[in-house]
Amino acid sequence: MLEIKNLYVRIKKKEIIKGVDLTINAGELHALMGRNGSGKSTLAHVITGKDGYEIEGDILFNGESILDKTPEERALDGIFMSFQYPVVIPGVKNIYFLKAALNARRKYKGEAELDAMDFLTLIKAKIKQVGMDESYLSRAVNDGFSGGEKKLNEILQLLTLEPTFAILDETDSGLDIDAMKVIANGINEYRNGDRAIFAITHYQRLLDYMKPDMVHVMINGKIVKTGDIELVHELEAKGYSWLEN
């Protein structure tokens, strides 16, 4: 589904990603671990098309290069990212934002846009899945939300928009154990054989709930080690320094 080929990324002349190759197939969950500043979030933003990067190499999504596509085109093609720091949009109701996003997608796929009533029925079912109170729908997007609520709201968007490829950028950071379980459940609801997940994380706990197919470790802009869940346990015990050099 996603193929990253010999990727180099620079921001203002500084090389952040230094040659990454990665293939993620439908149905798989890949975890990416590594220290702060190793280039994990940059990789995520390059996949979703954020402005301001100098890029060499290629990224293919369903066999097609996406580097020339705008962020919204990539999103409409099925790439979703749960933000590490979800953005606050004052004054815009959550429900209105979600409806605009879903209808943009439906329109793109040639499906009829949902009217307010149909959307309300749909979103009420989705919000139940993540265990959020309905009152969050009429609040402004992420405005005054706690860290955990913001992350839950990202998962609500994931379940509503039903993308085929989901990047989770430290979705587990700053969550208590109960919230982590809820989020893991939400993500597991989303998983199926046609969808893939790319989870960036620092912790073992979320991965214990989600059972990744592959675990990659990024150090200084390169993937230096790839393994299975055992690698996570090893990292938990030994840290990253044994992988350096």
Binding site: E72, P90, L161
Partner: protein, 478 residues
């Protein structure tokens, strides 16, 4: 700021086209004779001419104000023609209407029947929707509501004009109000009698009326005891005459237990988006008096047009328990400048005022909120709530806030909130990542920002206002 955002806020003025038609016009210049001519053309009674001359002499002694945060080249008042009216002809069908005018109506999307009314085609009873206007008129008359052009009111109701004209905005009030008092040509007059709730929003009808109002409009609305009226002033019509100065005056008078709701959507030509050349100078004095107890005046405005806006719809809260409200959205894009806000003067006891102002600046737009809240000595237990929010789009625009507060009674309660935000690239990117294109994202965010004001507008206007914001901000519409 990214190119994407800059591109998205560029736009062409959708309504900017000029219609070539013959007009009766006085030669440029201003003196006693010109004022006498205007009064004579209008066949006015002596008291009106006297008032105009008095205003003119006052104006001569005054100086153009410079305290507003707006820049424009000096206006040559002798280069302006102070009277201009389309030539009157009796028309039988739209075929006889100047095709230039028809083209204009079609570009604006004005319905056929309304086009006929605008063009002055004799009403044909066969057309149902045309007779709607007649029905409106009959319905209003049945309730004793007077709603007519100002000049007609001068002829038919001189006693009301004499009593109320200048009672809220005196001819000495300010430079532009004095000028307007001297040379105004027409406008609207509304009188709602005691105990009457005006059966309809005075809107569509006004649009029809508005065709013949000049650049110096004068509006006078009187709500007698225990009456209610909602008045809508829509300005999406083309306004691109050579004279760029529009100095209007609006006076509202609310008697005991009466309510006046005044809504404006203003979209006059803002000038060339690339050079800033041209555009309307909108220098308006709008004020209402809550004359007696329990009266209420509510201003709602959506200002997206004009090169320069200088406008402070205000409320004088004289009556005990009276209420003043001001809800405003102002957008300045490209080279537009706006200095706008309100004044709430609390004189009576238990008076309440609310100010919600939303300013949006994009491009090189410059915007100032200027508001004054005065609590006078006898205004026991008065309350004011003010909220002034500014939003910046891009990094070349400016926003200023000047709230003046003057309290002379210690029992007053004042609340003031202000915020400045900007549409950030991170917000746009977040929306993009959810599949929402940049232009839609901007309009989503801006509409969210303006929501509190839009909900004060009558339904049909709210939709129009929302569309107008989109048109004013998007690059794709033009």
């Amino acid at each position: 700021m990214s190119e994407v955002i800059e591109k998205a806020i560029e736009q062409d003025y959708k309504y900017g086209f000029v219609t070539d038609i013959e007009q009766d016009t006085l030669p440029p210049g201003l003196n006693d004779d010109v004022i006498r001519s205007i009064s004579a053309i209008k066949n006015e009674p002596d008291f009106m001419l006297e008032w105009r001359l008095k205003s003119y002499n006052q104006w001569l002694k005054m100086e153009e104000p410079t305290w507003a945060k707006v820049d424009y080249p000096k206006i040559d008042y002798q280069a302006i023609s102070y009277y201009s009216a389309p030539k009157k002809k009796e028309l039988k069908s739209l075929d006889e209407v100047d095709p230039e005018i028809l083209k204009t109506y079609n570009k604006l999307g004005i319905p056929l029947e309304e086009q006929k009314m605008l063009a002055g085609v004799a009403v044909d009873a066969v057309f149902d929707s045309v007779s709607v206007a007649t029905t409106f008129k009959e319905e209003l008359e049945k309730h004793g509501v007077i709603f007519c052009p100002f000049s007609e009111a001068v002829q038919n109701h001189p006693e009301l004009i004499k009593k109320y004209l200048g009672s809220v905005v005196p001819h000495t009030d300010n430079y532009f109000a004095a000028l307007n008092s001297a040379v105004f040509t027409d406008g609207s007059f509304v009188y709602i009698p005691k105990g009457v709730r005006c059966p309809m929003e005075l809107s569509t009808y006004f649009r029809i009326n508005a065709a013949n109002t000049g650049q110096f409009e004068r509006t006078l609305i009187i709500a007698d005891e225990d009456s209610y009226v909602s008045y809508l002033e829509g300005c999406t019509a083309p306004k691109r005459d050579e004279n760029q100065l529009h100095a209007a005056v609006v006076e509202l008078i609310a008697h005991k237990d009466a309510t006046i709701k005044y809504s404006t959507v203003q979209n006059w030509y803002p000038g060339d988006p690339k050079t800033g050349k041209g555009g309307i100078y909108n220098f308006v004095t709008k004020r209402g008096t809550c004359l007696e107890e329990n009266s209420k005046i509510s201003w709602t405005q959506v200002e997206t047009g004009s090169a320069i806006t200088w406008k402070y719809p205000s409320c004088i809260l004289k009556g005990d328990n009276s209420v003043g409200e001001f809800y405003s959205v102002a957008l300045t894009n490209n080279f537009q400048q706006a200095d706008t806000g309100t004044k709430m003067v609390h004189i009576g006891k238990n008076t309440k005022s609310t100010i919600i102002s939303k300013g949006i600046s994009a491009g090189k737009g410059r915007q100032t909120y200027r508001g004054a809240v005065k609590i006078m000595k006898n205004a026991d237990n008065s309350r004011n709530y003010s909220q002034c929010d500014s939003m910046l789009i891009g990094d070349k625009c400016k926003a200023y806030t000047f709230p003046y507060i003057e309290v002379r009674n210690s029992s007053a309660q004042m609340e003031h909130e202000a915020s400045t935000s900007s549409i950030g690239e991170d917000q746009i990117y977040y929306c993009n990542q959810r599949g929402i294109p940049t232009e839609d994202a901007i309009s989503l965010i801006v509409n969210g920002f303006c929501k509190e004001v839009f909900k004060e507008l009558p339904m049909e206007f709210a939709v129009e206002a929302q569309k107008l914001m989109e048109v004013s901000l998007e690059g794709s519409v033009g």
